[in-house]
């Protein structure tokens, strides 16, 4: 197991090591809110970051399982391709932005624009999410066990949103959809795989009304 203490080791040294390593486990202590920790990892590594991180931690992750025992700054797991990123605290803005695949689990709350432009990632938030979450969301699933702020799913494409708590004003072209037995089953499996305890049947489902897919002047007021 490799150990990095960011009070003495640099983020550059850490990332270079992670980029040059194909297997194994690494621990990172004293992250101190530093930016870009463990970004660009491209191997089935286990990385445990013990403390708070700054911007873009685990950015563009592929294959690795990265756990942050603390809070995460903006853009955690942005553009994630595969693997798992788990935040044991809260996450700031743009969590999981543009993620293509893999899973992002936030055990606390997520701030605004969680899952913005998501393209296939699964994001499970045990707490609440802020406004404009799943803005322009293309593919994937955003699961919110708490409440969702205003303008949820604004200009959403084919992503699916599940919310258990209250939802503020829905964004443009986002509507509530039927929660079928198939959706309950699918959601239960996702929750189970992430270890987040919640009953799938208590969630409501949201998605695109598909009214804005092709410009139509009669829908101009919807923008």
């Amino acid at each position: 197991m490799a150990a990095f203490d960011l009070n003495t080791d640099s983020v550059r040294d850490l990332n270079q090591f992670l980029h040059d390593t194909s297997t194994g486990m690494s621990t990172v202590t004293n992250p101190g809110g530093r930016h870009c920790i463990a970004c660009g990892v491209d191997a089935p590594l286990e990385v445990s970051v013990e403390g708070h991180v700054g911007y873009y931690c685990a950015g563009m992750n592929k294959n690795a399982a990265i756990t942050i025992t603390g809070n995460a700054g903006p853009g955690v797991a942005e553009n994630i391709m595969s693997g798992t990123v788990r935040v044991r605290g809260n996450a700031s803005q743009y969590a999981g932005a543009t993620g293509h695949g893999g899973t992002l689990i936030i055990e606390g709350d997520a701030s605004a624009r969680c899952g913005i432009s998501m393209k296939g990632v699964d994001i499970v938030v045990a707490g609440n999410v802020g406004h404009m979450s799943a803005f322009l969301a293309q593919k994937g699933r955003l699961v919110v066990c708490g409440d969702a702020g205003d303008f949820l799913g604004d200009s959403i494409y084919e992503a699916q949103i599940y919310v258990r708590g209250k939802v503020g004003e829905l964004g443009a072209d986002c509507i509530e959809k039927e929660m079928t037995a198939e959706h309950v089953k699918e959601l239960a499996e996702l929750l189970s795989s992430t270890g987040v305890e919640a009953t799938a049947g208590e969630f409501r489902r949201y998605g695109s009304a598909r009214k804005l897919y092709n410009f139509n002047i009669d829908h101009a007021d919807d923008y």
Binding site: G40, D42, Y56, M60, N79, M81, A97, I116, K119
Partner: protein, 441 residues
């Protein structure tokens, strides 16, 4: 007998000329702004308004064709471990697969490679054809992040964070549904046949302080190997260039309002941004003020059409220029062939700006196999290589005439302006005077 009206005796309105009347009628019929391709069509101050002061009694020219006039340029010397080394200071600008067909992208790559220069991806990601045909490929990081992935980031030769482009600073991209084939849709993670609107701002950073960290992330992912460019549409150029330097750019691309687009609102193309001519000068001044001129390299684009345009941009202080529309024209855009197909989309050779329709008569801006087959990569690359070679010869000719052994030795002192506007914008004297409008002398 019915009366006939002699149109020659009728007085048209200067406020409502025919094209304005037509546009109002079109808007009334369709209820939507005009979306089109190509760049600004209005008349703007351009590099044509500057001329070189060739050598004479006080300057010593170089012999054409005999004395060496170098054209090589290195981009990305500030932080990158592997800067880009170009043989010519003319690069190919970012144009998306989706807007352009695969054959067009491959043609661009082949020609750029043959000339020792770079080509650039666009919205929608990197195609295999493009990577294989381009020895030096710049990979764009755009607000939409369509197709963006770390594998392609790692196999790029440079990254270009696109903040804006000259045709639409402050606006996002648009690819209308009829150009969205299965392959294009798959690369963008979106359904087929829907309008794909690219975001106008990045999803995970806001402002230069964030961008500085974003660039740090990209450098970490690429182990600080490759240069990172920032591209801006020309508006508040002085501020944008200074902030790009602050954000950690190796190279700054400034795209003037003559820059092209595949599909944008006409009102955006014609009414937002500033021309390339003043943008170059403003960018150079901003770099000089920070002591970063030639340390952070400057690429200028937007309506560059000839070796003369390139020479003038370099003389004003750019390190390289980039071409997009002109490269497409070299490959056959608006060529007088397949006239019936121009007619079918309501235009004619010389006037076509119908990239947005996907029905490009010459097979460049299309995803339709029948049309795309009209541009074979070998032929497209040959045309573009010839055109680039011609541009370089023109550039060297003008540089030698000014007595310079390297194109980067051209300087503003080699230029004079033919109009007061150009003198004010480029800050070179009006021809026959020592007057630079705006200077206190």
């Amino acid at each position: 007998m019915p009366m006939t009206t002699d149109n020659k005796t009728l007085r048209p309105s200067a406020t409502f000329p025919q094209h304005v009347l037509d546009e109002i009628h079109r808007a009334a019929d369709q209820g939507i702004y005009e979306i089109r391709g190509f760049g600004a069509k209005r008349s703007l101050p351009t590099f044509d308004d500057l001329v070189f002061l060739g050598a004479s009694m006080s300057r010593y020219p170089l012999e054409g064709y005999r004395e060496k006039c170098a054209t090589d340029v290195v981009l990305g010397t500030r932080f990158a471990k592997r800067p880009i080394e170009l043989k010519i200071p003319i690069t190919i600008a970012g144009m998306s697969f989706g807007a352009l067909g695969a054959n067009a992208k491959e043609s661009l790559g082949r020609a750029a490679t043959a000339m020792g220069t770079s080509t650039t991806t666009g919205d929608g990601g990197m195609t295999e054809e493009e990577r294989q045909s381009s020895e030096i490929l710049v990979y764009q990081v755009l607000p939409s992040r369509y197709g963006l992935n770390p594998d392609d980031i790692r196999r790029a030769d440079a990254l270009e964070v696109v903040v804006g482009q000259g045709a639409k600073p402050g606006g996002g991209g648009m690819l209308l549904g009829h150009k969205i084939t299965e392959r294009v849709a798959s690369m963008r993670d979106l359904p087929q046949d829907i309008d794909q609107r690219s975001a106008c701002r990045h999803p995970d950073w806001t402002g230069p302080d964030d961008l500085e960290i974003k660039i740090q992330e990209l450098r970490e992912i690429t182990d600080w190997q490759i240069p990172i460019y920032i591209k801006v549409g020309a508006t508040r150029v002085s501020y944008d260039v200074a902030l790009a330097v602050k954000s950690g750019a190796d190279v700054i691309v400034v795209d003037g309002m003559q820059g092209g687009t595949a599909a944008t609102q006409d009102v955006f193309i014609e009414h937002v941004g500033i021309p390339t001519l003043p943008a170059v000068r403003m960018a150079v001044e901003a770099l000089q003020e920070l002591g970063m001129h030639r340390k952070v390299q400057l690429i200028v684009s937007g309506g560059i059409r000839s070796g003369a345009d390139a020479a003038k941009a370099l003389a004003l202080g750019a390190d390289a220029v980039s071409i997009g529309s002109a490269a497409m024209v070299a490959m056959g855009c608006n060529r007088n062939v397949f006239t019936e197909d121009y007619d079918a989309i309501g235009t004619a050779p010389g006037f076509c700006h119908h990239c947005h329709t996907g029905r490009c008569p010459v097979g460049i801006a299309t995803q339709e196999p029948k049309l795309e087959a009209r541009l074979q990569p070998e032929q497209g690359a040959r045309w573009l290589r010839n055109y680039l070679s011609t541009m370089v010869l023109e550039l060297q000719t003008l540089t030698r005439a000014c007595g310079k052994t390297h194109v980067l030795n051209l300087e503003p002192e080699d230029l004079t302006a033919l109009t007061i506007e150009a003198a004010a914008m480029a800050k070179v004297p009006l021809a026959g005077t020592d007057w630079i409008p705006g200077n206190n002398k």
